[in-house]
Symmetry: C2
Subunit: 440 residues, 2 copies
C-alpha cells in the first residue's frame, strides 16, 4: 500500500516502528496532491520545499532518539482561517490576500509541538462563514461540493492528499463535509481546544475540530489536547438514542437511509437502539443558533467592515452593519434557551443513554460548487457545545458517501471516542470504499 | 489647561471644533509621559516617532475635511495582550519578547479605523493572568499597585499620560484598577467587543474593556462598537439595588466607606436605594469562575506549555499540565450554575430595579508591586457577562482613590452608560481630585 493510502494511526505506527519515514510519507502525499489537485483544488497554499525540509528535520530527530510526540511526521492540512507562522492566512478573502500572521494559532502550535508536519492551507468558505465558496470539489465527483466551510480540509483527507486536517464548525462546517467526503470528523466539546489565532465569527459557536480516516485518527489528534481515549466498550448492550432531531422534515431519502442503516447495523450487533425525542423547547435551538451567530458575528466582522468597507464581502459586512437591528431581548432569549437546554441534554446520559445517533447531513453532497449543503442537522449540536463524531455509513443515489454522527454529553469527548471506536466498524460496513474507489 | 489634562470627550470636542490638533494633544501627552514614566512605568513599548507621524496624518485628514470618526486624534494606550500591527506584543512574558503580530486585534482595528491614535503598549500581569506582575505603579503613590492585570493601562490614564486605554477583564482586571487609580472603567457585556487578536485565557470570561476619565469618555469608546448611549435619566426616582454581594466578608473599611458614601449621595439626590440580596446560589459563582478559568486556561496555555516548557511561567504552565486533574462533573456544574444565574440576575431589572451599586474592590490599592489586589468583588460579574462601569468615589486612609461600580443586565450597555452618566456626578463628589492632586 502506498503511504498516502494509510490512515494517520497506521502511518504513525509505521513511523514509530521505523518502517516509514516522515519524508517518504510526505513524498507519497505530495505525489497524490500533484495528481489530484488540479481537480480537487483542496489547497490555497502549499509549500513543498518547506514541508520537505521539515520532514527531514523530523526524520533526523527520530533517528537520534528525539521523536517529538504522538503526531511525529504526520502531514496536516490546515483550514485557511487558522494563523500559521510560516504560511499566508487568507480566509479565502481578497482583503487578506498574502496576509502573514506572526504566530501559529493555538491549535496548530500544539500539534506542531507534538511532531505534526503542516503542509499547507486548505480552501474554505470565506471567513468560514457566508462569503464566497471554496473552489474545492468532492473527491468522488468533482461536480459536487465537498461541503463547507471546511471544504478543502475535508477534500484533502477524503482524496488521500493528507491523512489529517484541521477544520472549524460554527454551524455544520466539520461534520457535514465529513459525511459528504466519506471521512471521519470530530467536533469536540466547546473549549476543549483554544481558538486563539483563528478568525472569529462567533464566540459561542466557533469550534476547532479535525478530520481523519478512522476513529483512531481522530483519537490520535484528540490526545494532543489531553483527551485520553479509554478502551472501546462492547457494542452489545450499548444504549443508543436514535434522534431524528427537531428538523427531521429537512431529511432527504439518502440521509434517512443512512440513519436507518446505522441503527439497524448497531441493533444487529447487539446495541439497544431506542427512539429519542428531545424536549419540545429544543426545537428553538436552530433559530437561536442563527440569532447568536448574527449577533456575535456583528462584533467579529466590525473591524473588516470599518477598515475595508465595500471591498469586504457584503454578506459578512451586513452582519456588522445590521447588528443594531437585532432585538436585545431576542438575543438574550436565544442565549437563555441554549443555556437551559445544555444541562437538560447532558442529563439524558448516564442512567438511560450512552450515545446519540443522529444525521450528519440531510443526504449526499449536492451538485454544484455554489452551495456547500445545509447545516441544519449540525447547528443544534454546535450550540449545545457537545462532542460529535462523524462516521461514514452508506452511499446515496449519485454514488456519493453519506455519513451519520454520534453525539455525547459535554466534556465527555474521551468516552464518545471510545464508543465511536466500538461503533464505527459496525456502522461503516465498507471501510475500504474510499481506497477502492479513489485509489483503485 | 494643558491638553493632557483634558478628558477624551473634552479633547474630542476641541479637535472637532478645530481648537486642538491631534499633534498638540499627543505632544502634551508625551511631555507628561516623559516627566512621569520613570516612576509610573505604565508602558512596555512607546514609539514616539510613529505616533507623531500618525498624528500629523490625522491632522492632515482633518484639515482636508476627512476626519476619521468620533475618536479622531485621541491617544490610546493598549494593554500588551492585544496584537498591534506596528508594535511588539509581549504579554509581559520573556517568551514573547519582541514578538510582532501581523495584524491589529479586532478591538484595536475598530478604534484605529475611527481615528484613534495608538501610542504604545501598556504593562500587564503576564498573559493578563497569574504570571509575573507589571512594573507599573499607582499614580498617587508609587509604593502602591495600580491594580491589575490591566496595570499600565489604568496607570497611564490615571496619571494623565493618555486620555484612553484598553484593558481586559477575566476576573477583576478592569474595574479594580479603575478604582485603585481614580479613573472610570468599563467592562462591557460579554461579546459586545470581539476578542480576536488577544491572547486568550478563558473563552467564557475574557472581556475587552477600556478606561477614561469620565463616563462620557467611556461612552465615546463604546460608540465605536455600536453602543448609542441615550439621554441620561434623572437620578431622582432611580431604583438602585445596593448589593454587598456574597463576598461581603472580604470588604475592607475603605471599600465599605466608599459603598456607603455612594449610596448616601445617590439617596440625597433622590434615588431610591434598597438593599439587594442575591439568591443563595449566587454564592457559588466566585468558585465557579475560578474553576471555569482553570479549565479553559488549560486549553489556552497548552501551546506555550508544549513549545516553551520550563521557560514558560510555572503558574500558567500548571494550568495546562493540571487540566486533566479537574473533575469533568465539577466543571459542568460550574458552567451550569453560571448559565442558570445569568437569566435570574437579568430578571431582577425592569419592573423592580434600574441598576446595581456594588463594590469595585475590597478597598484602596494595597502597598507593594508584588500584588495587584483582590478581584473577589469583580469575578462574579465577569462570569455573569453583565456590563459594569467603575466610578471614582472616595479616598482611603492612605489617601488613595476608592471607587464603586454600577452593574446592569446583559446587553444593556447603552442604558447602563446613560444611568452612569446621571449617577457619576453624584457619586464622584470631587471630580477635580485627580487634576488637583497629580497636576497641581
Amino acid at each position: 500500500m502506498q503511504p498516502h493510502a494509510l490512515t494517520a494511526a497506521e502511518a504513525a505506527a509505521q513511523i514509530r516502528a521505523g518502517s516509514l519515514t516522515a519524508e517518504a510519507l510526505l513524498r507519497s502525499c505530495l505525489e497524490r496532491i500533484e495528481a489530484r489537485e488540479p481537480v480537487t483544488r483542496a489547497f490555497l497554499h502549499l509549500d513543498v520545499e518547506l514541508a520537505l525540509r521539515r520532514a527531514r528535520e523530523l526524520d533526523k530527530r527520530q533517528a537520534f532518539g528525539a521523536a517529538m510526540g504522538p503526531l511525529h511526521g504526520l502531514p496536516f492540512a490546515v483550514k485557511d482561517v487558522f494563523d500559521t507562522k510560516d504560511m499566508p492566512t487568507t480566509l479565502n478573502s481578497p482583503i487578506y490576500e498574502g496576509f502573514q500572521a506572526g504566530r501559529d494559532a493555538a491549535a496548530v502550535a500544539v500539534v506542531r509541538a507534538l511532531g505534526a508536519l503542516i503542509i499547507g492551507k486548505a480552501d474554505t468558505v470565506e471567513f468560514a462563514s457566508t462569503g464566497r465558496k471554496a473552489l474545492s470539489t468532492n473527491p468522488y465527483n468533482a461536480r459536487h461540493t465537498p461541503g463547507g466551510s471546511s471544504s478543502g480540509s475535508a477534500a484533502a483527507v477524503g482524496d488521500f492528499m493528507a491523512p489529517l486536517s484541521f477544520g472549524t464548525q460554527t454551524a455544520g462546517s466539520l461534520i457535514r463535509p465529513a459525511s459528504f467526503c466519506g471521512i471521519y470528523g470530530m467536533k469536540p466539546s466547546w473549549q476543549l481546544v483554544s481558538r486563539e489565532g483563528l478568525k472569529n465569527s462567533s464566540a459561542t459557536l466557533d469550534t476547532v475540530g479535525w478530520y481523519g480516516r478512522s476513529v483512531a485518527d481522530l483519537a490520535l489528534v484528540a490526545s494532543a489536547y489531553g483527551v485520553v481515549t479509554p478502551e472501546a466498550p462492547s457494542v452489545r448492550g450499548l444504549r443508543v438514542g436514535l434522534c431524528r432531531s427537531p428538523v427531521w422534515n429537512r431529511i432527504e431519502p439518502s440521509g434517512e437511509a443512512a440513519l436507518s442503516a446505522a441503527a439497524q447495523r448497531l441493533e444487529r450487533a447487539g446495541a439497544i437502539v431506542t427512539d429519542l425525542t428531545l424536549p419540545g423547547e429544543f426545537a428553538g435551538l436552530p433559530d437561536a443558533r442563527t440569532l447568536i451567530g448574527d449577533y456575535e458575528g456583528g462584533a467579529a466582522f466590525l473591524p473588516e467592515a470599518l477598515v475595508f468597507g465595500d471591498a469586504f464581502a457584503p454578506a459578512l459586512r451586513s452582519k456588522a452593519t445590521d447588528r443594531a437591528k437585532l432585538s436585545t431581548s431576542d438575543v438574550m432569549a436565544a442565549y437563555n434557551l441554549a443555556d437551559a437546554c445544555r444541562p437538560r441534554f447532558d442529563a439524558l446520559f448516564g442512567a438511560e443513554l450512552d450515545v446519540v445517533l443522529t444525521p450528519a447531513a440531510p443526504g449526499e453532497a449536492p451538485e454544484g460548487l455554489h452551495t456547500v449543503g445545509d447545516w441544519v442537522f449540525n447547528g443544534m449540536w454546535t450550540l449545545l457545545h457537545v462532542p460529535c463524531v462523524g462516521i461514514p455509513c452508506t452511499r446515496g443515489p449519485a454514488g456519493l458517501p453519506v455519513g451519520v454522527q454520534l453525539v455525547g454529553p459535554r466534556l465527555n469527548d474521551a468516552r464518545l471516542l471510545a464508543i465511536a471506536s466500538a461503533c464505527a466498524p459496525v456502522i461503516d460496513e465498507d471501510p475500504e470504499f474510499g481506497r477502492r474507489t479513489l485509489l483503485g
